[in-house]
Each structure stands twice: as C-alpha cells, then as structure tokens.
Symmetry: D2
Subunit: 419 residues, 4 copies
C-alpha cells in the first residue's frame, strides 16, 4: 500500500506549485543562481517515520534555519546562564538583519535574528575555540540530528563572505559591547560556514523531529539534547522565529518555525513531527513564498495549530470495572497532570467500596513526575481509608511506589486482566 | 477522599505566600486600598472540574484580563476581517500602556495592549452600539463563560475614570487615525467598565477552560465561541499577553497568560485547563509577583509548558490482533494527523493477510477531519488490495465512511470485541 | 521715488507665482476652502519700515506661527525655569504632530511641535487662568507685536475643534504625565483659539521684527519682551522651527523660521528684519510651497544666511588721527567684543606717543557690556602708561567711565572734531 | 600695553579652573593617560589677531573637531551634490556614536556624528584614493587652516585603532548600504588617523577663524575654502555639532561649536572669531566640562550668541549733508540688504532737492550683490527724476555702475569730502 501521507504531501505541493511569486535571494550570486522551481517537502514523526514529496533530496544551504540548532548546541556546550547572558529571548518585531540589541544589557534580543545568531555561534564549544572547531561543532551536531554526514557548500560560503558587511557590522558592534570577544571577522566566517551547511528537506524534518521529541532522536533513539534544551529551543523559535511577523504566523499557522534565505522552511510541532519545505523564491520578509503557503495548508488541514484544543486527559482512565471483588482502574497513554487529575477524580467518585483497589498500568506509555506524585497520593489516601491497594505494572512504569509513609502497594506481576 | 490536587494548589500558595515583594497598584485609589495579602488560586479542567486554594472566592476587578475575552466577543460579533482591520496580532515589545500603533495601518499592534483593547471594546455589538450595550455585551459574555452573573465594581470604575488620561489620549489618537469612530470619552468609559467587572480566581479558571476546550464550556457544554475564535484568542494571548516580557514568559512558563492590575493572572493551557491566581502586589511590569511565582511552580511541577514534548500519537493504535480469521485494528483517543499516521503505518506493515480487516473505533473520542480523511484513504487502499473492510463504530465517530469511490465498508453494529 | 525693495519683493513673488504644486490643508473644512492662489509677502526692518508685495493685507489664521510668540509670552509670564520644566528646546527630528516627549522628563521636546505648543499655551497667564484669559493673553500680546488689534477667526476655530483628536490625544497624555494640570479639552480649546487668530504677512513681518530687534518694537519703540526672551525665542525657532527638516532649512536658507498650516511663513533674521509670506498650498511637510521658494530666493539674493560671514568688527575703529598734538581714536557703530578688540589692538599699536589720547564716541550707536569693559580697560592702561585720556561722548554712550581704580578720564563736552 | 583680552581669557580660565568634574576619556589608553589638568584657550579674530591664555601651545589630538574641517575639505574635493548624496545635514538627536542613518537614503544623518564623519572622510580626494592620500589631504588642509605643519599622534592613533569596533561596525554598515565603497578597515584607519592629528587651542581658533571669515584665512589672506563651503560647514556645525544637546547649546550658548574626546572644543562665530578651548575631563555626553563652562562665560560676557540682536543696518548711512549745492550721502561699513535698505529709505526721504546727488563710498568696506543692485537701482531712479548722480568711490567698491539702462553716474576720483 502506497502511503496516503506521501500522497497528501504531494497534493500540498501541487496546490502551491503554480505560485511563482517572490524572488530568489539576489544579494549573493551563488544563491541567485539557485533553480527557482525547486519544490520539496518532508515530514518526520516522533516515531521516526519520514514522508516526502517533490525535491526531497536536493541539497540547499541551511542558512538561518541553522539558528535554532546552533542555539541548542550552544545551550548544551555552555549552559543556560552563559547563553542567556549573551542573548535574550524576546521577539524583536524587526527584520532578521536588524541589530536589535536590548537597551541596557546590549544583548541581541534573541538568537533568531542575525545579531543573536552570531553571538550564539561564538558561544559554541568554548571561549577559546577556533573557527574550524566551532564550525565542526555545528556541522557534526547538525549531522547527528539529520543522521547523516552534512557538508559545507564552499561556493555559497565564499559568495556570502564576499558581501558580509552587515554581519561584520553586527559582529564589530557585539564586540564593542563585550557580547563577543573574538575577532569579528573570524566569528562571521564561522557563522557563515554554519549557514552554508547543505541540507535537504528530509534532513530538516528529521532534525526538527528530534527537538519535538524531547531531544530524543526519533530514529537513532539517542538523546541528542536534553529535554530542557529542546524545550527552550522550540520556545524561542515559537516566540521569535518568524521575525517581524511572529504574531501573524503564530495566529495563522501556530507551528514554531524558522526560514532560511535559500528557501528552506522548518516547522516543529511539539510531540508530533518535524517538517521541512524548500522553495527558493522569497517574499519581502525573506521567507519562501510557496513554503509559507504549504504551511498554511498543513495547519488548516491537519489541525496542527499549537492552540488547537484537543482534550488530552480524557482517555487516560480507560475503564473502571469490578472483577472478582476487586475494583480495577485501568489507565492508558501518557499520564500527565490532566490525565492524573481524571484518575484522582475517578478515585474520589468511587462508590464500589470493594476491599481491594487494583491500578492497572499495563497500557501506560509514560508517567510524568507530577502524574506519578498525584497517582501515588491517591493510592495513599485509599490505604488511609482502609482499603488494600494492588499495582499491576508489568513494564515498571511506576517504579519505587512509596506511598509517602514508607509503605508500598502490593505489586501483582501477572498480565493485566483489565483491558 | 480529599483531593490531592486541591492540596497541591494549597502547597503552591504556601510556597509563594512569604514573598511580599511588589506593590499594590497605586495609581487608582480604589485599587491602592486592596488587601495586599489576598492570595487565591483555582484550576478548571476541560472536563469542568474545579480545584481551588486560598482566597478563591474573593472578588477583584478583572482589569486587563478582560482583554482576551473581549477580543473573543469582538471576533464573534464582527468577524475576523473587521477585527483584524482594526487591531493587529504582533507582539509589541513594549509596556501595556504604550500606544504601539503599526507604521502604516495605524492599527494598535495587538488587542492585549491598551490601545488594542480599547479598539476591541469599541468593536463589540456593532457600529452604533451605546456604552451601555457594549458594557452589557462584555458583562453577559463574561458571565456566560464564568457560568454565574458577574457584576460591575462601581467604585473601582469611578476611580479609574477619574485618572484615565492615558487611555483618553489613546482613544483620541485612535479616532484621529480612524480606528474608532465613537466619542473617545464614551469608548474609554465603556472600556473602563469592562475592566471593572468583578471576578474570582474560580471564575478566571472556568473562563479560561472554555477557551482551551475548543470554545465549549467545560461545565455547561455550551459552545460559547467557535473553535476558530477560541484558537485565535489563545494564540494572541500566547504571542502578546505578557507585553514586553512575552519571550521570557514563553520560554520560562510556556502557558498562554494574561495579567490584570488588580493582581489577577489567567493561564490557559490548550486542551488541558484554565488557571486563575490572584495576589495584588505587582512587579514593575504590572504583573502579580506571587502570581508569576505560582505559575513558575505550576509549569515546573506539571510539565505544562506548551513546548514540553509528550508524544501524542503513539497511543492511538491500541492493538492489532488476529481473531477468528479477522485482523482487528483497535484505535483509541483522539485521532489527529499524527495518530492517523501511526494507523496508516500499521496498515502498511500489516502482514497478517487475513481476508477481513476490522477497524474498531469503539474507544475513539474524536476524529479530526484530517484523521478521518487519512483513515478512510487507508481503508480504501485495503479494498483495492482485495480485502474486505469492516467498521466497528458504535458511537458513529466516522459517519458516512465513503471510501472515495462511492463504496462503503461494512459497518458491524455490535459491541467492540477488541479492547 | 517708488521703493526698489517693494519692487524686488514683487519680483520674488512673480518668480514663485507659477508654482502651483502642493495642496491646501485638507483636514479642516475651513482651511480647505481657502483661496489657493493667495500670495503675499512683507518685510519689516529693525527700523520699522515695512515693504510689501502681493496680498499683503489678506488675513489668514496664524496657526503654528503662533508657537514662537506664545512661547515668548509664556517665558514672560512664568519665567524661564517654569517654562523649561515643562518644555524642552531640542529639535525633535519628527513631524509637527508627533508626541515627541523626552524619555525621562516626559517634557515635549520643544515648543514648536504641537505637544510643546499645547504645554506652552497652558503656561500663559498663570496656573489657574481660564480659557478666555489665556486666549486673551495671546491675542493681546500678538496685537501688541503687530501694532494693531488682531481678531479670532471663529469659523476656522470651530472647524478645527471639530477634528482636534490628535491634539486632544496629546493634551490627555501631557496631563497623564503631569506636564499640564488643566482639563485637556479646555487646553486644546484655548490653544486652537490661539492658532485661529487672524494675521496678514504685514503683521507677521512686524511681529518678527520685534523679536530680532532685541525685543524692542521697531515702530512703537516699546520693549515688548526682554532681550533674553527674544533671544531664546529666536534660538528655539532656529533649532526646531522647521520640524524634521531643521538641518536642511538651516543649511539652505539659514533664517530662523516658522510655518503655519494656513500657508503662512515667518522668518526672523537677528538684528535685521522680520519676514512674512503667505501662500496656502503646502508640501507634504505642511510648509507653504511658494513660501519656501520665496525664502530660498531671499536667502540667495540677499546674503541673509545666518552663517554668511560678513566681518563685523572692522568698521568700529573709524580713524586714528593726530590733531593738535592729540591722538584721536574715532569709533562708530555698535561696539561689541570684536569691535572693542580692534580698538584695543589699535591702542596697542599706537606709536604716536602724543601726551593726550582722545577717544571720540560721538558716532557710536551702542556699546555692549563687554565692549564697555574692554574699552575702559584699554584707557586704564594708557593712564598707567602716563598718558592723559580724554573722552568725547556727547550722547553718553559710555556713562560712568570708571577706569577701575576710582579715576575717570576727562570728558570733553564739545562736538566731535573727527568725522 | 598688555592686552586686556588675553587677561580676560585668563580670567575666564581662572573661573572654571576649580571645576574638576568629569573624567578623562577612558576607553583609549593613550587618552586616559592625558594630564587632566591641562587648561588652555585661544581666540582668533577675523583680522587674524590671536589671544591666548593657559596651555595654549600644548598639543592634543583633534578627534571629532576634525569633522567640520574634513567636511569642508570633502565639499571642496567632491562638490556639494556628491557629498550630500552620502551624508545628510539633519540633527540626529542622538549620541555621537549612534548609527543614525536616514530611513530611506541610509545616509548618515549628518557629518558631525561618527557615521557621517566616516562617510565624509572616505569622500576626500576622490573615489580611488589611498588611506595615505586621504590622511595627507586632511593633514595638509588642517595645516593650511592652522598656518603651521600639523603632525599625527601615532600613539593615540594606534591606541584608538585597537579598540575601533564601533567605528568598524559603522563602516561595514555604510558599505552594506553602498554609502562607502572602500574597505571598511582602511576607511576607519584613515578616519582614525585624521582624528589623531595634533593641534593646540591656538590652531583651533585660527582654523575656526578661516571658516567664519568667509573662507579667507585671517592671517595669510588665502581663500582656503569658498564662501559657500564655509557657510555650509558652519551651518551643519550649528545644527548638529553638539549631538543630542544641540538645542540646549544653541539656546544657551548660541555659538556653532564642535567638541573632541581629547578635551578640545571649537567655537566659530560668523564674521567674528574662532575660539579654541582644551580641558580633558569630559561630561557624560563626551564634552569637556570646563570647556563648556568657558563657552557659557564667553557667551554671557560677550553677547556672542548668534541670536543676539544687534541692529546691523543703522550705521551704513553715515551722514546726509548738503555741501556746495550737492547732497552727499556718505556710506560706511558693509552694505548688505538691510544697510542698502536704509540708504534707499534715505533716498526716498530726501527733500534737499539739490540738482546733484553725491554717493560717497570711500569708507565702505564691501558691498554685497544685493546691496549693489539696490543702490544702483536707487541711483537710477534719481536719474529718472532728472537729477545728476555722482559717485565717489576711490577703492572701486562699486565697479561697473551700470544704471540698468546703459548709462553710468559720473565718477569723481578725488578723496571723499564727507567723513
């Protein structure tokens, strides 16, 4: 069976293909020479499955889409405090290439604008790293995220370095304010090399999927960044990724995203998927015209908007049944705050009054800290009420189930009886 | 059994209670007279259950927290196009009381700053509405959301109107630019009355819960706003609700929120819950000091951050089993894009090769449009492969299951056999 | 003999007459109804002679040209410190109707923009003055300057008050910041009335001549403002009178000036003349198109540019002659620093070595304080050198000529012998 | 006789000497090492006489005071249009080191801020000049103005180049916008060398005197720049020389001025004198604390304020007398518009009705174009009235006195009889 999802992506591309509006980035000869008709798309789920359509394997330079990933690398290399001291997290409301420094700290407002991205690049590895070391850190980190070896586009890099006055201006100003220490020309060279790494939309989708999966690579299973770094990176991308139209994008599309001047566009939907699109013609904001349209279609069709309200909690309590004189509460899925809340509400409402309560976790995927604490607290109160509590937890989803007073529920090893 | 959740909320309040930093809003005598020690909190889930702690039933004026709700009412009364023509959706990066008009359109940048909220208030009801009619629209709408009759705090309103020069300045400027047509003093009077409606944290939590539940009131079940209005309101609140610290709030807390100068703070987590906190002492940004802290604690403890990556899709496919020569695919929960994708992937991987495929939807809560389309497409392809397809859908979650070619799967009415 | 100067002014008007570019101010019905072809011009010298051409006696509303004169009145009524506390003196670099408040003080940047002019109007008379009193102060002061009774244009005033939202916005914001205390609508009413006073170009020229003549009315001889007030008013007009093109005007024309939206344009050249032009069609900055052109022509033809370097000092020492065994130093004109310096230099170079030195002041117009001090010091040093010093000062230009040690030069009463 | 003027300057210095407020510029080691107690002052009149007090011959780096002189050189080398295309003339209202580019043209707002001064430096000589050529142009031009050979302070220059990030940032941004073409580092090197030229206050006073004397060097008599260049330079200095306190300076002091970070301060009063002061301790705006105070004192004592209203015209007509049946009009001084106007007024008022009118120009210094045209027109009208007109003009102040109809007045060669 051919995947309907790939077909759907193909349909999305067909819808936007005829829009030849916009212009290929003209300020760099190598980018200006790009084939304007390239059009490709890929989605990678948190389970690691990748669907593609169109020019999914054509390489282009990653450009500004490198910014969130380099930010994740900098957070990893230097820690939150050091990075935050150099770069803010506020939307700038300005174009990508504005200086946009904060009034007193002189930090760039966020890592998604060039000033912040240059400061971020210089944080890579450590204080005395070389241009080559910082570039290699970016290249190898991006490669890990893409699960293949990414390479530099030397011609694009050379071409951009020849007209890098704005970035050089920014870098000198950053050193003037003490935000960076290294030679501005070296910093811009390293940053430009980072931006010249070649990717495909398949790579972008996969790289994004790692961020939205709590930092766990959806294919290799490796923890490529901590959950905290993944969350911070997505949050900054959501708040500032689309520059001066952040609010418009957030209301209209609702998917954290980042665009690049070579025509790439990355989307990242927490817990769901990474998305990559490429089409080199840009609107006046520097965003891919057809890429934007494809995202509009995706958001509309798929209910992918972050603010789309799908109730999360209601399926955690799968069933409450009385069997053989025991009351079985069977849970399923991911037990977060709201899910645990529904379980506790069921506990409160329990009128079966059997002597024994069985909590069946055999179909639970994961219990968050707060979920664990809430469920154990509920069980503890049952014990205080004089009931016996039994845990069915074949996969150990609730290890060390201390009820808070040093006692533990009985753990019944066998297969779950409740469904 | 006493609810551990209420206990938890109590614990959060106890943690922040000792922080007596900040000052009660001093610019309005009536607000300055507020008891600075008031501290209350409430959470309302999308299932309509409310948990409270502290001063949950003390009334205070809603102030700026009225902004998102009035925006939802204006979108309802006038439609998206009319509202968007008068108010933008971009974060302003400025304090709440800055004029922050867009350069060419002269629209206020968003409805969360005063300029935008004044323009929004004037959109209520219709072009020729009176002060009384617009106020009543706000009051009755807020009452519907809170599921109780809310009243005006006349003394606060009178007090604020006496020192309303900044808002009057804004209103005159809006009329100068043609953003509003009515008398500026009447508009400010109406807006100030809207801000003087008395609420409790219990009200705020309930009102927020309606927004995050797709516009369906979690207790009355009424569709109080359309899903599109609910989504837009939350998106704007996420992008611009916390004024000049929008990015900081979004990275640190990750819960769309809105604060009021009387010390109220509303949080709204899509698909999960509404949250209300009150504590009158404010920081220099005008946000409740202890309210902010409480949200930090909530976000940290409960993994409530919007960018927190909990995989959504993995539990939709509950089981694949072969029973009596039929292959059963049992689904559960909400079938969105990613959930449907996992089902299609399972279809593709199916090697059971039985003649009959049974899709069991008896435990599905809801199928989105895209989910429906994807699942039907998968079934259609099975039929093309020569297999018989049977649908078990006792609750009619997949009505009119046209396979795209005018044929329909067999619908088996009986109870699901698979669990 | 018909005056060639009037003919010259006529020629200037003829040169610019054909330029029908620009538009009559359209935002106020009464102004929009003005005859766009009106064209008039007047010059008033510091000696009080007035030359006119074209529509010199057609009345139009003074509008923003009232700003410098109201500023002079406010300085007179309230003193420099009070006025400075409410209004700054820096160019704003912005359009006339921008708010342009200073960052910390919240003062309007200068009295030439609307915000500053509104604050200035409210300073007139005193803290508790009525609308009528403040208007009457402006009207009577302007009348004194014009040496005729000026009247209000009621229809223009009413028309402007009907669309005064921007000024009302500004006034409310000023009260919000405590820059003004009175009711904003009353302040705007008073200010609008001030702007609606009817003048002719003859009036403007005469009013300007009083400012450039050290505050002495060139016709009545009355000291209408102090020299300090006149100087301050001219300085602010030079720095900020032409709004966002202050530098362009200053380099190109070099005459302190102020324009009004009814098409008037006032120029004021220190020590020389006041100039009035009227032509109602305005450029996009709100300045009279033909008025600007006429000033360009005047500046070019007449060397009126403030930075035009005409040596001042060289004519003060009229002659040095030896007559009857006495050395006569004959001075003339105004003895400022540079003039006195040339006299002292001549004293130093004196090699006549006669016993008696005669300083002939009979053709001196005026000696400034510094000139007086310098000349007396020179004489004192001659006395120390053992020479006799005689003063010829029939008009008492150098009263009380104390040589610093209690001695005085001989004063010879007779007519000057030197010419 | 010792000059009282030098004594006066000494007294000014003594008044300000005790003010040890402010700090020597600390951002450059070589400047930080300057002797903070240096205090010197010089005045150079348009007649070329120089008065000094204090450390008048201590050299310091010219720094930003080079800006107006380099601007004059650029205007000379490239013409007004080319320079204006690259640099504006509007006050920036910002600190000296802000980028302050105009919105559309991207020109620096004026040549007194660093961005404008860097663009100005690059205009020197011509499009393909070398660093050495541009520096040499500045150095030799400044030397011509100072009438001595000025040299580079190599140590200051090297020290500044080591911390030139802000200027490098500006230069890169200027190249980004196409305002400059050359290598930014070379431009900054050249500009920094220009700023490191060593001067004394005596030099500054002399250099300023050339500007205020219509471009004629007051000592050598050479026309070092055209009158138009001198005027433009002074105008820009008046409008923008004191950065963000331009209005305050203009109202308080009223002398076009420019300060340097090494503690120098240049003043230039059109037609009167150049002034130099040095004292290295700076206020937070980067201006010499004692230098500012000295200028306050000068302006107050000497009535040097540009807006000080000394009537110019009244002394041009020295006398009207009837001698031997002829009416003699004797003029003196500089005959500008206002002076000529007073002559024409006297012509009109003439009731002597003698047959012959004699215009005695023997004591006239200079007649401007407009003065010439006006006087000749007056004479022409006398001829038309049937009177004989005789010109006494021993120095040829009114050459080619064509009365407009091809006739000429009689020119009487002899010495003037009137005084």
């Amino acid at each position: 069976m051919h995947s309907p999802i790939a077909d759907y992506l193909q349909e999305v591309l067909d819808t936007v293909r005829d829009d030849t509006g916009g212009e290929v980035a003209g300020y760099i000869p190598e980018l200006a020479a790009a084939d304007p008709d390239v059009l490709g798309m890929a989605v990678c789920t948190v389970d690691g499955r990748v669907y593609t359509a169109g020019d999914a394997d054509i390489e282009f330079s990653i450009q500004s889409i490198s910014k969130p990933f380099a930010y994740a690398a900098a957070l990893t290399d230097r820690g939150f405090a050091t990075v935050r001291a150099a770069v803010g997290v506020e939307p700038s409301g300005e174009a990508f290439n504005e200086l946009s420094l904060e009034a007193e700290s002189r930090r760039p407002k966020n890592p998604m604008i060039n000033a912040g991205a240059i400061a971020t690049h210089q944080l890579l590895v450590g204080p005395h790293a070389t241009v080559a070391e910082r570039f290699e850190r970016a290249r190898s980190f991006f490669s890990t995220l893409a699960d293949r070896t990414l390479e530099l586009d030397e011609r694009v890099c050379t071409s951009e370095l020849a007209t890098a006055d704005r970035n050089l201006s920014i870098a000198h100003m950053l050193r003037n304010y003490g935000i960076i220490d290294d030679d501005p020309h070296e910093v811009v060279e390293g940053y430009t090399r980072q931006c010249s790494i070649k990717v495909t939309v398949r790579d972008l989708a996969t790289m994004g999927a790692a961020l939205v999966n709590g930092g766990v690579h959806p294919q290799t299973g490796a923890q490529v960044v901590t959950p905290a770094v993944a969350r911070e990176t997505l949050a900054v991308m959501a708040a500032a990724g689309m520059y001066d139209s952040a609010g418009e994008w957030f209301t209209r599309v609702g998917i954290p995203a980042k665009s690049g001047v070579a025509g790439g566009l990355l989307g990242a939907l927490p817990g769901q998927c990474g998305i990559g699109v490429v089409s080199p013609r840009l609107d006046r904001h520097g965003n891919s015209v057809r890429g934007i349209k494809a995202f509009h279609r995706l958001s509309d069709d798929m209910g992918m908007h972050l603010m789309e309200s799908e109730p999360h909690g209601s399926t955690v309590l799968r069933s409450t049944t009385v069997r053989d004189g025991e009351t079985w509460f069977a849970l399923q899925g991911a037990v977060q705050f709201i899910g645990a809340e529904s379980v506790l509400a069921a506990f409160q409402d329990d009128t079966t009054a059997t002597g024994t309560l069985v909590l069946d976790l055999s179909r639970v995927d994961r219990i968050t800290d707060v979920g664990r604490r809430m469920v154990l607290e509920g069980l503890r109160r049952f014990v205080l009420d004089g009931r016996e509590v039994v845990l069915v937890d074949p996969d150990g989803k609730l290890p060390n189930p201390d009820l808070g007073d040093g006692t533990f529920p009985t753990v019944r090893a066998g297969t779950a009886r409740g469904r």
